[in-house]
Symmetry: C2
Subunit: 105 residues, 2 copies
DNA sequence: CCGCTTGTTCGACGTTCATGGAAATACATG
DNA sequence: CATGTATTTCCATGAACGTCGAACAAGCGG
């Protein structure tokens, strides 16, 4: 995970609409959520807007889709989030253990 | 930490320039870094651009500044990052323990 | 085949962002 | 007070974003 990639994912998550989408997906668990259901849940009025956000999330690898007949099931990609949180934690140690990390890490 | 606040911080971090700035600050430890040094380190040519990004980071509470005579020392606010990582981890459990979280959490 | 549902793509609108140059501010020093 | 350094604020410009409506594609059921 390099800085550019992390920034891209952070940016994807850095919009209330997309963060809500992602959160709903995460909470839906492995089963995932059809786009229609997702729209209903996050309260985005226009389907095209949701589709746009979803596309962005997918591009960064945070979300995946699987077709089931006419409906598209969306799922959060947990390993991606894991990596991202790992990157953040690695850079920042979250506490005060940061002093020893140095520069080459 | 609500969704809006988290999204704001995520967005602040979601730019290669700002993520690099933040990273440099984190690695500098609690000693912090003067703006000038920061500029030199992250390779932003215009001081005004750096100042702009810094301002954004400060607005979201991710970075703090302290004046020392003519120079401004910038520091990463570790608790803020801790909260953000916590929010992400809380929503996503990072692994596969997510199924039990439910909806009301 | 036709209509219905599901979801995406396209084109457009106004808003916000990133960037940098110039002027302004804050502070130390002589 | 004048000068010099450090940093921000102001302003302008082009690019990207968020949002939406309308048109389109795909698959199911009569």
């Amino acid at each position: 995970m390099n800085v550019e990639q992390a920034a891209k994912q952070l940016e994807a998550l850095g919009s209330p609409a997309r963060l809500r989408i992602y959160r709903a997906l995460v909470r839906a668990g492995h089963a995932g959520l059809p786009v229609r259901r997702l729209q209903d849940r996050v309260g985005i009025p226009a389907a095209s807007t949701l589709s746009h956000h979803l596309h962005r999330l997918i591009l960064t690898g945070l979300v995946s889709q699987e077709r089931q007949a006419t409906t598209l099931i969306c799922r959060a990609v947990y390993p991606a989030m894991d990596d991202l949180v790992g990157f953040l934690a690695d850079e920042c140690c979250a506490d005060e253990t940061c002093s020893g990390t140095g520069e080459a890490a």
